[in-house]
């Protein structure tokens, strides 16, 4: 009987699925194997830092999670969706739930910061009222402004995107991602093309937003100190597999350093 009573608890734990589950993921570009049967599970609300030398397949892995790159083999379940099996229509619907921050901010330079943020609403809706802030419904405009405020740029709303600094542009890109109302965040070196201080601010912002909103975050950074400070868990990639996986607070910087080498001669 005691066993039977214990069962509901067990099933409750089972019922809380991981935000991400990857099984046997493979990818090769020609003769070069990038991922060689990779397995990974991520609990909801965790901030995972993905590390690895250049060419280790970090960016490839991140893009495969939303099938911007198609895997050769393996299964991926993200937010309860079997990503690998999605047809084009459902895949598009699924992508709406995942916010991506790229190394390049990818803003439309000639448009205002506010219009760029508003574009995030296209994850839910289309039509002329999503193209420019001047055409947008009041509610969308207010939400876009609130997203800009969250990244500390409400006062730059009407400034043209190409007149913003690198750090500010990346903030606008993050605001656009928030406008999308994502359930999961992927960030591919959001700090790479920024000066050290702006880079740190961006990493801090992303980590804080993920924590505040209870979102799962997978972030790639080439800066060891950012990786340690702005993650809960560190996953190291080498030779197409995960060779390191531990909580960030227990990670040994000296051990991590090997994942950051090989950068200069590969770039």
């Amino acid at each position: 009987m005691a066993l039977a009573l214990a069962l509901p608890d067990e099933s409750l734990i089972e019922a809380l699925p991981p935000a991400l589950r990857i099984q046997g993921l493979r990818k090769a570009f020609g003769a070069r194997t990038i991922l060689d049967g990779l397995d990974l599970e991520v609990e909801p609300g965790t901030a995972v830092a993905l590390i690895g030398a250049n060419g280790a397949g970090k960016s490839t892995l991140l893009r495969m999670l939303v099938r911007l790159i198609e895997p050769d083999a393996g299964r991926m379940t993200l937010l309860g969706e079997a990503v690998s099996d999605l047809a084009p229509g459902p895949l598009r619907a699924f992508r709406r739930r995942v916010g991506i921050v790229f190394q390049r901010h990818n803003l439309v330079g000639r448009l205002s910061a506010l219009s760029n943020v508003l574009h995030g609403v296209q994850a839910r809706r289309s039509g002329p009222r999503t193209w420019l802030h001047a055409l947008a419904p009041a509610a969308d405009r207010a939400e876009a402004l609130a997203c800009l405020a969250e990244v500390g740029l409400a006062d730059r709303a009407l400034q043209r995107a190409d007149s913003l600094s690198g750090g500010q542009s990346q903030r606008v890109a993050i605001a656009r991602m928030l406008m999308q109302r994502p359930e999961f965040i992927l960030a591919d070196e959001p700090d790479a093309s920024l000066d050290p201080r702006s880079g740190e601010e961006i990493m801090d912002l992303l980590y804080r937003l993920a924590k505040d909103k209870g979102l799962t975050l997978i972030v790639i950074s080439h800066r060891l100190e950012h990786t340690l400070r702005y993650s809960d868990r560190i996953v190291g990639l080498a030779d197409g597999r995960i060779t390191l996986d531990r909580p960030s607070r227990l990670a040994d910087p000296r051990h991590l350093r090997q994942f950051f080498t090989g950068r200069d001669h590969e770039e």
Binding site: R96, I100, N106, V108, R110, H119, Q122, A123, T130, Q180
Partner: protein, 265 residues
């Protein structure tokens, strides 16, 4: 101290291969034949220049008697160019989207759109004018249609190229969140291509104004009709007034469009 003499002599020229040589000789022969075939002769030029001088002599001073009528025709000509140009630009835009790499919904549609644009562009506007004069009758309406088709061909190509050349980053970012094709085009592509669109549009208008003068010669309305009549009646001093008026209009349009271009870009 003498320089060491090189082991091999370096030729001054590449020796042409047989094919290059043959093509060059044939091209030169064709050029010579062309000169003899167009009937351009020294005697003709000697006769022609004095004749041109006498026409010019009869043109000046220009006759201003018909100036009000000429200005009315000039206005019609400009309006014909403007309307034809605006219609052409409006129709060129969707066609350019269908013809642009990365925006076209299907490779077959892309090739069809490109073929249509190329066809509109390569057939001269005068030929379109002849066709539309037959189709809709004499008058400015035929001119408007001719200019419209010509501008679809001209602007369609440049609009498509402008949209292909924009930074692809914003498009990828929006595609990644599941935005629709129209969303990508109007949020990411068009704002970036806008300066190029404006430049092309202004240039189209300049071209249309110049072209619209000629269209009247085949009966497609506007000042060209007046010019043809003046020449047919040997009324050279009126023709001079028309030519000067056209010149001033073209210069004016070019100046204004330069101003707008500088202001906007």
């Amino acid at each position: 101290m003498s320089l060491p003499s090189p082991a091999v002599a370096v030729p001054r020229w590449d020796r042409p291969n047989a094919l290059t040589f043959m093509v060059t000789v044939l091209a030169l022969a064709f050029l010579v034949w062309s000169f003899s075939n167009v009937g351009l002769s020294w005697e003709r030029m000697q006769r022609g220049f004095p004749a041109l001088g006498s026409i010019l002599d009869r043109m000046f001073p220009p006759d201003l008697e018909r100036l009000p009528q000429i200005l009315r025709s000039l206005l019609i000509t400009f309006q014909m160019a403007l309307v034809g140009c605006v219609l052409g630009l409006i129709l060129a835009f969707p066609l350019a989207i269908l013809a642009a790499d990365g925006l076209s919904p299907h490779p077959v549609i892309k090739q069809l759109a490109r073929g249509l644009i190329a066809f509109f562009r390569t057939v001269p506007d005068l030929v379109w004018a002849l066709l539309f004069v037959i189709a809709v009758g004499l008058g400015p309406a035929a001119g408007v249609m001719a200019i419209m088709v010509d501008k679809i061909g001209f602007a369609g190509r440049f609009f498509a190229e402008a949209m292909e050349e924009v930074d692809k980053g914003p498009q990828e970012a929006l595609a990644a969140i599941g935005a629709t094709r129209s969303g990508l085009i109007f949020s990411a592509v068009v704002p970036q291509a806008l300066p190029s669109f404006i430049a092309t549009s202004l240039f189209s208008l300049e071209k249309a104004v110049r072209g619209s003068v000629i269209l009247g010669l085949v009966g497609a309305g506007g000042i060209g009709v007046e010019l043809k009549v003046a020449f047919d009646l040997f009324d050279y001093d009126t023709a001079a007034t028309i030519i000067i008026a056209v010149f001033l209009l073209v210069v004016l349009v070019e100046q204004v469009s330069n101003r707008i271009r500088k202001r906007l870009l």
